[in-house]
């Protein structure tokens, strides 16, 4: 401390420089984040306190928490949308992670042409979400869909996939799982390859079967990746918009089915903002959805963190 008093101005400046330059180097990220991340977020929060028509910013009036009160306490369609969101989150995230683990496990063996298979895993992910959804919507068509055609071999009746709650959620979940399983599988595969083979050899000597090895060695050692994948998948799956929107194309796309049976919260936001032009209300939905996403991501973090070796 005493030494600090004797420092010259130049030395002090050097001291600040050393301390501050790192911030300078990372500043581009934060400046861009500020402009394209933080500012829109704060602006959304500001708009959510207004009664405001999308096309008429001048006519906006400040109504405090009025939008939130309406949303949380008087709007059954919002809670319907939140219910669908959570249902779709479960139906997409859990199969995604489980399938990805299984696929990664299979690809972690000596296979003929395994590079080809590994590359193939990422293909669904790099195709356009709109194209995927339109094709899946046809596969799940009521009259001429491939899925119903295959099911008819087993005597199943003609399923109107869009009409039911369970059937529509299943169809939408299938699109999401198909699209993202490969992505997570590659992450898991990369980490699997880092697990020393001596651990498996030792386990084999101890008489552990491959199933036991998978659950007792592979999965626990992949814990950080599973946590990462689950959190990433959660934040994505809580905000599903394109899939439910394009599953039901046409004038009623934004309502997510005739009885809103597959309208997610993000789709409800879209409906309020862009068909009803209620900019304030849809901003409030956006913020509530963001908070809900953080909560659910926190829960999935806590759940996946419990994976451990015994």
């Amino acid at each position: 401390m005493a030494a600090a008093k004797t420092l010259s101005f130049a030395d002090k400046r050097h001291h600040w420089d050393v301390k501050l330059s790192p911030f300078g180097f990372i500043s581009p990220y934060f400046l861009i984040f500020g402009a394209f991340g933080l500012f829109p977020l704060l602006y959304t929060a500001f708009v959510s306190l207004q009664k405001r028509n999308l096309l008429d910013a001048e006519g906006a009036t400040f109504i405090g928490l009025g939008n939130y009160e309406q949303l949380l306490f008087h709007d059954p369609y919002f809670w319907n949308a939140m219910g669908n969101t959570v249902s779709l989150w479960l139906l997409t995230t859990i199969p995604q992670i489980l399938f990805a683990l299984g696929v990664a496990h299979l690809l972690n063996r000596r296979l003929r042409g395994r590079t080809l298979f590994r590359m193939g895993m990422i293909l669904p992910n790099i195709t356009s979400v709109a194209a995927v959804t339109i094709i899946f919507a046809q596969l799940f068509g009521r009259d001429f869909g491939l899925v119903n055609w295959v099911l008819s071999w087993f005597g199943a009746g003609q399923i109107d996939w869009q009409a039911g709650t369970a059937s529509s959620h299943t169809a939408i979940a299938a699109m999401v799982v198909w699209r993202w399983t490969g992505y997570h599988a590659l992450i898991f595969l990369a980490s699997m390859q880092a697990i020393p083979s001596s651990m498996y050899e030792a386990a084999t000597l101890d008489g552990a079967r491959s199933w036991q090895q998978f659950w007792r060695i592979t999965v626990p050692l992949l814990r950080p990746q599973i946590i990462f994948s689950t959190v990433i998948a959660t934040t994505g799956n809580m905000r599903l918009l394109a899939e439910p929107l394009l599953f039901n194309p046409g004038t009623a796309a934004a309502t997510g089915g005739s009885d809103r049976q597959f309208q997610t919260a993000a789709l409800y936001l879209y409906e309020q903002g862009f068909t009803k032009y209620d900019f304030g209300y849809s901003s409030a939905i956006a913020l509530v959805l963001a908070v809900a996403t953080m909560l659910v991501a926190g829960v999935s973090y806590l759940v996946t963190r419990r994976i451990q070796t015994d």
Partner: protein, 426 residues
């Protein structure tokens, strides 16, 4: 020591500046100016306006103007337009707006060029009076030039009606259904002997739209109040269509969806409510069915469904040129060409007695005299007042009827939910 420090500081500053520059460049990247000296005009459309040949003609007459068409699906188009108007950028120089949405957009007339200030007031008499006033804002600004009107007829499959033992000749078919009740009764006769997998009508929502379009009062009264719950014409129509759905006459398809389009190509239904623009859709969607279709008069008298406007968003760079182009595209001469090439019914009454129009027969529809059918209908048409959210009310009607068709609710429960849903549209 000192020079190094300064170096670092300069680098730091440079880094921050670069970051700032990146931010400004990114946020400032709008559309770059017109290149090549030509004035570039874009047209934002939905469906098929039949403008492709007209655009070539206009470009040939105006070598300094280059026109591009952007076509999107109906609902996407109107949502995108709202977003572009809200953000003040991205809209085309000319944006088409459907009748169902025009009242909503004219509520914010300052987003559009007031066509009355660029010569529109002198063109006013071109259009049907109600067409002109439907896009006229409260304070008198005109936001759009009318393109087509819908009118109403019924398009039907001659071959399928014949297979089921019904008459196929258009006059005999028209005579089958003076009223909607007669239309549904004919449907029951059809369905009893219908070819496998074929239904009488495409879907409840389509038919219901026609019935709504014929009512003297539709979703709104003149004071912009939604009167769905208290309008007996709507409830009567609703109940009739629900009965038809229960009698298994409907293929259960919602209009303007891919499955509905497939229904045309697969021949899943024998009749479809036919505003003039629907003929274009059928022809585009199922070109293989040429000659199998015909056109009969609509049950229950004249009515309108659809028709559009061309508007000029103020945010455009060349609003003057865009307004000229819109005026040209909607002029009677051009509307006549669109009618004979695409079948869209003109909104300019001077054509309704033009032999070129009235004498027009459509080969795709078994040479039906559509010129006469639709101009007669247009002359008789009693314009219905369209309220601000008519398009959204129509969407809710479609959803409500779908709930019945999908077996999710009965007619009464679905109606009750519908009345509650439309009450939230303010």
């Amino acid at each position: 020591m000192r020079p190094k420090t300064r170096n670092r500081r300069t680098r730091l500053l440079a880094g921050a500046c670069a970051a700032l520059a990146a931010v400004t460049v990114l946020s400032g990247c709008g559309d770059s100016g017109a290149g090549g000296g030509k004035i570039k005009l874009s047209l934002g459309l939905f469906g098929n306006f039949g403008y492709t040949d007209l655009i070539k003609e206009y470009q040939a007459a105006h070598p300094d103007i280059e026109i591009t068409e952007r076509t999107a699906a109906y609902s996407d188009h109107h949502k995108n337009l709202a977003a572009h108007l809200a953000t003040g950028g991205g809209a085309a120089d000319i944006e088409a707006i459907d009748t169902g949405y025009v009242a909503q957009f004219k509520a914010t007339p300052d987003k559009f060029v007031d066509l009355n200030t660029v010569g529109g007031d002198k063109l006013k008499d071109r259009w049907l009076g109600w067409k002109w006033s439907a896009s006229l804002a409260k304070a008198g600004q005109q936001i759009g030039y009318g393109t087509d009107v819908g009118g109403l007829a019924i398009c039907y499959r001659r071959d399928l009606l014949q297979d089921a033992g019904l008459p196929a000749d258009r006059d005999a078919v028209s005579a089958l259904w003076p009223t909607w009740q007669a239309f549904f009764d004919a449907g029951k006769r059809f369905q009893a002997k219908a070819p496998n997998g074929v239904k009488w009508m495409d879907g409840g929502p389509t038919v219901l739209n026609a019935i709504v379009g014929q009512a003297p009062v539709g979703y709104y009264d003149q004071n912009d109040q939604i009167v769905v719950g208290s309008n007996p014409a709507l409830r009567t129509g609703w109940d009739q269509v629900v009965d038809a759905v229960k009698a298994n006459l409907s293929a259960g398809l919602l209009y303007s969806t891919p499955t509905w389009n497939t229904g045309f190509t697969q021949g899943q239904f024998a009749t479809v409510t036919c505003p003039a623009w629907m003929m274009t859709k059928i022809k585009d969607q199922a070109p293989d069915t040429a000659g199998k279709w015909d056109v009969a008069s609509v049950p229950g008298g004249g009515g309108n469904w659809g028709g559009s406007y061309l508007t000029i968003p103020k945010q455009g760079k060349h609003t003057k040129e865009a307004a000229d182009l819109a005026a040209w595209l909607t002029a009677p001469e051009q509307q006549a060409k669109v009618f004979t090439s695409k079948g869209l019914l003109p909104s300019t009454p001077s054509l309704y007695d033009d032999p070129k129009i009235t004498g027009y027969t459509n080969p795709f529809f078994n040479n039906a005299p559509v010129g006469k059918v639709f101009t007669d209908a247009a002359k008789k048409l009693n314009p219905q007042y369209q309220g601000p959210k008519a398009g959204d009310v129509q969407t809710e009607f479609g959803n409500a009827m779908q709930r019945v068709e999908q077996g999710k609710q009965d007619g009464a429960a679905s109606w009750q939910q519908l009345v509650g849903d439309v009450a939230k549209l303010k």
